[in-house]
């Protein structure tokens, strides 16, 4: 078996497991878990968008939540104005992508790099947060949709089957849509990264000057990567607005931005599956820590029912003990054991002293 067919085997396994998960889960688990899993799938798409932009593209984007939020708000506003969901979904993907293209042009053609990129993207998402947060008055509306300021936009109508205004998709269908989109995004990105484009952006990440000297314009490739990431994040935002039927300005905030970065770091930069796992893991952990609060106020419960404290300790331990991220470390451990077993199989014995 050579490397290429092993790679295809791996992809096939993911496909099989993913599809099984997608079709089996609604039949096996209760509705509440299906709803919970739906939002995890949606956030995983967001994690993948940053995995592409940062993990493979090397662009430290501290403001991926800007595109996420723009997608959610665009969907909500378009939906209130149009009433039928096909066009709003398209707009919710195109608008963040266009914004990403604009911002990317501003940044990459200005030769801005690493930590300065982080600052500009963070600043952009904070500007959006501050602006949208102060739109609470009734004078702030786009067509029929009030922006609502801090309260956000509640009661967003759900998606409907294309061009059929009356047939809203139900909760189970929402799950299929989210999981299906996640799988499509994953395989789409795999395809992209296996293509020449993918190799070039990794090359640019590794050494921009060398790529440039080889004849590739890094600004164009970075811009393209950033735009694709923005479109994916916007799509995730659109799905998110559907799942919760609400959107509020905190979606643009620092906490949401940092969350996405944390998912990618915890899962492992430079992989696609890693951020998906990191995202689902941390989300699930936050929900677990928030649920089942004990009634007392004693010190024990103050510490163990204290979500920020526990999460903080876990993250710090993570960085110190598992610095490469979950998936690369797991792969390293597996490779270590496999190498050992292979050595034993070949009968490798250390030389005995005579």
């Amino acid at each position: 078996m050579n490397g290429r067919s092993l790679n295809l085997l791996g992809l096939a396994v993911v496909a099989v497991v993913g599809l099984t998960f997608m079709f089996l889960t609604p039949r096996v688990v209760d509705l509440d878990t299906v709803l919970e899993l739906t939002v995890y799938m949606i956030m995983a798409i967001l994690a993948l968008s940053l995995a592409l932009v940062w993990g493979y593209g090397g662009i430290l984007c501290f403001g991926q939540s800007a595109f996420f939020g723009l997608g959610a708000y665009t969907y909500a506003i378009a939906m209130f104005n149009m009433g039928e969901s096909t066009l709003p979904v398209l707009v919710a993907i195109i608008l963040p992508a266009a914004f990403a293209a604009l911002l990317g042009y501003f940044m990459f053609y200005g030769r801005i790099s690493d930590v300065y990129l982080g600052v500009i993207t963070l600043t952009v998402t904070l500007i959006l947060f501050n602006s949208v947060n102060s739109t609470a008055g009734p004078e702030f509306h786009i067509g029929a949709a009030r922006l609502g300021g801090f309260n956000g936009i509640p009661g967003i109508p759900p998606l409907n089957w294309p061009f059929n205004k009356k047939a809203a998709i139900d909760l189970e269908a929402m799950f299929y849509l989210s999981t299906g989109s996640l799988l499509l995004t994953y395989f789409g990105l795999r395809l992209l990264l296996a293509s020449q484009f993918g190799h070039i952006i990794v090359g640019i990440r590794e050494n921009e000057r060398r790529a440039e000297l080889l004849g590739y314009d890094p600004r164009v490739y970075k811009l393209a990567t950033f735009t694709i990431g923005g479109a994916l994040a916007g799509f995730a935002g659109c799905l998110f607005a559907n799942w919760g039927a609400f959107v509020s300005p905190t979606i643009f905030g620092l906490a949401q931005s940092a969350q996405i970065i944390i998912w990618v770091i915890v899962g492992g930069r430079g992989t696609l599956i890693g951020p998906v796992i990191g995202c689902i893991g941390i989300q699930w952990l936050s929900a677990l820590l928030g649920a089942n609060q004990p009634s007392g106020s004693d010190l024990w419960s103050k510490i163990f029912a204290n979500a920020p404290l526990i999460l903080g300790v876990i993250l710090i331990a993570f960085v110190l003990l598992v610095p490469k991220g979950l998936v690369p470390t797991a792969a390293d451990i597996a490779a270590f054991f496999l190498r050992r077993r292979r050595r034993e199989q070949r009968g490798f014995e250390p030389q005995q002293a005579e």
């Binding site: 092993l6 992809l11 878990t33 039927a245 905190t250 906490a255 796992i277 609060q293």
Partner: protein, 407 residues
């Protein structure tokens, strides 16, 4: 066979990600009640006393034999001031725990997030925080005060005491927006004028230029509808600029987050506030309540807040509804509550108003004095007139929205 690292990454991780999530089993005979209040993040100053009051209410009920002969179990969720978690926990409470009632939501934003979820999954919802009024939903009961109950009384009182020109500063979200409109209405109705209405998002801490603007406008008093920890800095900066002695203040949000304890007396003495409940109310029910609250949570508990009492009263009302209906079935309890159930609460008599699902309650005007709240005047049994103007659930039982009341 050698497995490449990449293959392992893909397959092994995918399998791990598809792992099942186990669901815990609950004791069969308990009645489950859910609490969804922020215990961390920025809103925890409001949430913690509410959950404490709810805990005490549940323990009292259990000690008296439970409800319908069954013990009550309180399941408490902390959404960490995160709207996504509010949605998730509401779904979990309704679908997985299948609770009989949810008491939760602090800001109007969080309420509007969980209300449709609980409606959809047919779970009874009590919203116990004071708010801007207008929610019309048969599945929900609101036990907090609304502007027609408090603002309507405080504005003329303040105008009579201090003068006719008011400057309004409010938190920039729908509670602040709507309350400021009510202040304007009652000010104009009583022959006054509003110098200006300024809005501030919840995270603003820099009020220097605002204070200058207020000084330039020379109002007779300032009305504050500021909310949250960051806005406390306004009161500090105001006192630091020496404005305490020159321009007085009134508010329907101050003290809800124990601002009168956080700030020093020089920073807030003399402020007028108006609420349903004050810890110092002198009636036997309240004195017994405060005694048992302090016994449970310590005599050094900072203050039993208005929102905590709202939650306590909400639970008591629900319990009465269950007793009258003889069951925890949602529709039966709603119908029982709609007969106009009332309880003798520590704040006075509290009755459910059937057409609006809001409450008729006593309100009192008090003054901040040396970290205490001294009651000055009482207004018994105020009706929720603002919501009643737009909402009648007896005529339209399928109504399901929040009206923005036209002023």
């Amino acid at each position: 066979m050698s497995i490449s690292r990449r293959t392992f990454l893909q397959s092994g991780a995918a399998i791990a990600a598809a792992g099942a999530i186990s669901s815990p089993a609950f004791a069969a005979d308990e009645i489950k009640v859910a609490s969804i209040h922020d215990l961390s993040g920025g809103l925890d100053i409001y949430g913690k006393p509410m959950v404490d009051a709810l805990t005490l209410a549940v323990e009292e009920a259990n000690a008296a034999g439970g409800l319908l002969g069954r013990q009550i179990k309180l399941i408490s969720y902390d959404p960490q001031s995160n709207m996504q978690l509010y949605t998730q926990f509401a779904q979990q409470a309704a679908l997985k725990d299948k609770v009989a009632v949810v008491h939760g939501g602090i800001t109007s934003a969080s309420r509007e997030v969980i209300r449709p979820v609980l409606d959809r999954f047919k779970t009874l919802y009590f919203y116990n925080t004071q708010y801007e009024g207008g929610v019309c939903d048969r599945d929900q009961f609101d036990t907090g005060v609304t502007p027609a109950q408090t603002v309507e009384k405080l504005v003329p009182y303040a105008m009579k005491k201090w003068g006719k020109k008011v400057y309004v500063i409010a938190a920039d979200y729908n509670y602040g927006q709507i309350t400021s409109q009510w202040v304007k209405k009652y000010a104009l109705e009583n022959g006054g004028e509003v110098a200006s209405i300024d809005f501030f998002p919840l995270d603003v801490t820099n009020f220097g230029s605002t204070i200058s603007k207020i000084q330039a406008a020379k109002p007779d008093f300032v009305w504050s509808a500021l909310v949250g920890g960051a806005h406390i800095s306004f009161y500090r900066q105001w006192a630091a600029a020496g404005m305490r002695k020159t321009i007085p203040m009134a508010s329907t949000t101050f003290a809800v987050g124990n601002e009168h304890i956080v700030l020093s007396p020089e920073e807030c003495n003399g402020m007028l506030i108006c609420y349903n409940y004050f810890q110092d109310l002198k009636n036997p029910v309240n004195q017994a309540f405060v005694a048992s609250f302090h016994k449970r949570f310590g005599a050094d508990y900072p203050n039993i807040t208005e929102l905590a009492m709202g939650t306590y009263q909400g639970f008591r009302l629900w319990a009465e509804g269950v007793k009258k209906a003889g069951s925890i079935d949602r529709m039966k309890v709603i119908e029982a509550l709609e007969t106009g159930i009332s309880i003798d609460a520590p704040s006075g008599k509290v009755t459910i108003d059937p057409p609006t699902h809001h409450c008729i309650l006593d309100v009192h005007i008090a003054e901040v004095n040396n970290k205490k709240l001294n009651v000055l005047e009482d207004f018994p049994q105020q009706k929720p007139a603002d919501t009643a103007a737009v909402c009648n659930l007896i005529k339209n039982p399928n109504d399901n929205q929040q009206y923005v009341i036209k002023i």
